[in-house]
Symmetry: C2
Subunit: 530 residues, 2 copies
Amino acid sequence: MDLHGSFHVYDTTLRDGAQQEGLNLSVADKLSIAQQLDGLGVGYIEGGWPGANPKDTEFFRRAAQELDLKHAQLAAFGATRRAGLRAADDPMVAALRDSGAGVVTLVAKSHDRHVELALRTTLEENLAMVRDTVSHLRAEGQQVFLDAEHFFDGYRANRAYALEVLRTAYDAGAEVVALCDTNGGMLPGWVSDVVHDVVETTGVRVGIHCHNDTGCAVANTLAAVEAGATHVQGCINGYGERTGNADLVTVVANLELKLDRQVLPAGLLREATRIAHAVAEVTNVPPASRQPYVGTSAFAHKAGLHASAIKVDPNLYQHMDPVGVGNDMRLLVSDMAGRASIELKGRELGFDLDAGTPEGKDLITRITDRVKVLEARGYTFEAADASFELLLVEEVEGARPSYFEVESWRVITDSKPADEALSEATVKLRAAGVRYVVTGEGNGPVNALDQALRSAIGQAFPEVAKFELIDYKVRILDQGHGTDAITRVLIETTDGVSSWVTVGVGANVIEASWGALVDGLTFGLRRQGL
Amino acid sequence: MDLHGSFHVYDTTLRDGAQQEGLNLSVADKLSIAQQLDGLGVGYIEGGWPGANPKDTEFFRRAAQELDLKHAQLAAFGATRRAGLRAADDPMVAALRDSGAGVVTLVAKSHDRHVELALRTTLEENLAMVRDTVSHLRAEGQQVFLDAEHFFDGYRANRAYALEVLRTAYDAGAEVVALCDTNGGMLPGWVSDVVHDVVETTGVRVGIHCHNDTGCAVANTLAAVEAGATHVQGCINGYGERTGNADLVTVVANLELKLDRQVLPAGLLREATRIAHAVAEVTNVPPASRQPYVGTSAFAHKAGLHASAIKVDPNLYQHMDPVGVGNDMRLLVSDMAGRASIELKGRELGFDLDAGTPEGKDLITRITDRVKVLEARGYTFEAADASFELLLVEEVEGARPSYFEVESWRVITDSKPADEALSEATVKLRAAGVRYVVTGEGNGPVNALDQALRSAIGQAFPEVAKFELIDYKVRILDQGHGTDAITRVLIETTDGVSSWVTVGVGANVIEASWGALVDGLTFGLRRQGL
């Protein structure tokens, strides 16, 4: 059933999502995210609170000039007018009106206690604030949605009043009234009952806005839709205050793939994985690898038994084909990996390890054993495909690819009074018969080593000029309290077209980083066909 | 209603949870986690697959001697006998029997297609495998649970056969038959319908085992309980393959706090936050800060408006009092912080900023402005209470605490052929009128600097011998592509009794780390009363 035109998918990453601990978005970040969200086909992008937040006033101003939105409308979020003031005279309301957004989403108190304690006004005045602000903005030509704050708690405390707030907004011209579980304490069955009651009793068009404090934000949202809501609010990647808002991609994927309701423009759900990760890059909050549908681990299989079954038919261990959301199936090589995992992983990387022949069987055994030994020493190949591929090459071809021999390296970081500290690395190596001694500088020891190393081998292999280190992860592996910890480093390198991950292990973090750097460049050079 | 005795809370972190990408547990890790889980009061701890997994055989052997379980029973996981073999003759079944576990949980195929394609046997033989293995283990004196693998998919493909598997297991003596949503594709309403049917049609005692592929693992589990399940499986912190298993603490907290069902021994839910974090330490997988109930952000409030309301009554923005799960409310100081946040945070840290007086108002204004300026430069105080406290002290007392003046520092890391690289730092500073030049060694530049710094000031202030750097986080803040990135470092220091977090910012990661280290020691010394 195509409800696309009449079903609202409403993203509030730039406003409610931004209340997540550790998430700080600049105006440029917000514009970039808005463009990405439009690529997913959401219907509404809540850009912020213009007037209250100078950054957001700026966002709406620049958005009008810089954004090219094909699917989404921008929504400006704000509050009903102040108590005792006319909406037409309230400068905050004016800021919403003047933001240029096609839609204004007003948050109103729908819980009597909040009206009394937080707003410190009367229940009647609160209704007047709703009525006045909504009708004022409608008269000025804007589309208006109402966010009924603390609705479910308010409904429990004083059902009649909560419903009255909804009716007041709707009668004044609000197109949708979104019921907000602001404190996040609801469970799906309760949401269902309340939404059914609201729909039957008031006839308003209902939206839903959930938080994940009981771990049920997505389920609560779906329950509301099944009870009659036709407008869902959430945040991409489930950003949001405390435990986050409902993950909008999970909600939409469930609606389209499980409940057969098309809510995005046709074909756009397949962009979900790419867009979710692109937004995570901008927010600089590492994406949750185990996020439903779009997480890097969402279709990653580790158990040896699962791999054996997947050899027969991927659907035996997957609830859907990941291509539907733009994701991939991955086989993980680890000490849980059986021979089937190694074989399938090899195939995934383009190696036919040929388990049918005696040589093939031996090869797989050698590889499996080496993986287990290395993993026991701290290596992980689960997230380092390039290092695993180098291992395969070594076993299959008899020797590890090598383009240079390292003599030594050293890195120094010096504080300088009044200046920023500088890291300086010196690398001595031989490549293509020539000895190089090169010094590189950087904003840290690993960066400096990377510069020096690439500078050195770049004289023999100019291709490395394209390579860039784009991600760096360190983990200290505690073998047990009091013993020496091992450090594991994962490095992601790109050549501008694709990227690959290598792993390094050592007692010293710089040593471990060096190992991952060398592998990263070796893999990159091999990929160039050298 | 106290169902504790007859309601099963079953944790499978050590078996199913271990299938999470990136999670690698040693036997020592598993023993430690098992002891922690027992502290939470779970009824069953699935320890692993003895016989199939040498590590797990070892776990059960050592558990018998080393664990002191007050609440939980250990469960050994394994498969039904091989096709065509008698259970009494199957060495894998023998390993389960001999594991010493009081309970054996057998996984059996309940989806006809899996029987045919994965097991490659007949539907009848699969039933015989179930019947034979269950009755054999019962006859040997063990309690048996059955995990009906792929149950919900199997029920849809061939309802009669799926139910037959359940009946067969139950009649052969299985105490519980857990319905597993192995591929994770279910939604709560569907789970409810299926569980109702199973309960009414077969009369077996139903358990539930969900995965989070649709973001509904917790909701699916609750739906099953409401439809009659009395045994819930999950993993602490939601560990597990792909998107993870149902987060057992979220499930239990919802059952106890929202649905009024006591399922843990009285009072133990309050240990949830402590235990969830303790387990995360062992797994070395960073805990999700936004995890419901126990996450560090679960009750953290950022929006200025929320802080204002919380000043009046915390319940205005929280769905429950975090003390119920052993968590705390936190006010976050950020550029979203209003004066109310600063005032409440100050109070939380023991400073009465006295917003009533003109001097107090000015003070709060100065602090709020400084926070905004610093945050624009890359600092964050959201996660660095100790650095914020030093800022408060500086504003309140007129000067930042200072115990030493730094002249310079330098750190060198050298590769050594055949040896592990070593980092060496030299610090020159003055403390208590004496000039110190000290060199420290470490397994990385920051570790070496920390050693040198503490060694230097330790001669003037012996108290620092107790301090230890226990956590270190780096984030590169991209101000925009192509410009110089800023690095932000968060360091956690402990004195063996409590711990504190400080932040450092700079273009060079070592410079940023130095800043956080100095603040960490300064804060620690001030706390000692110096």
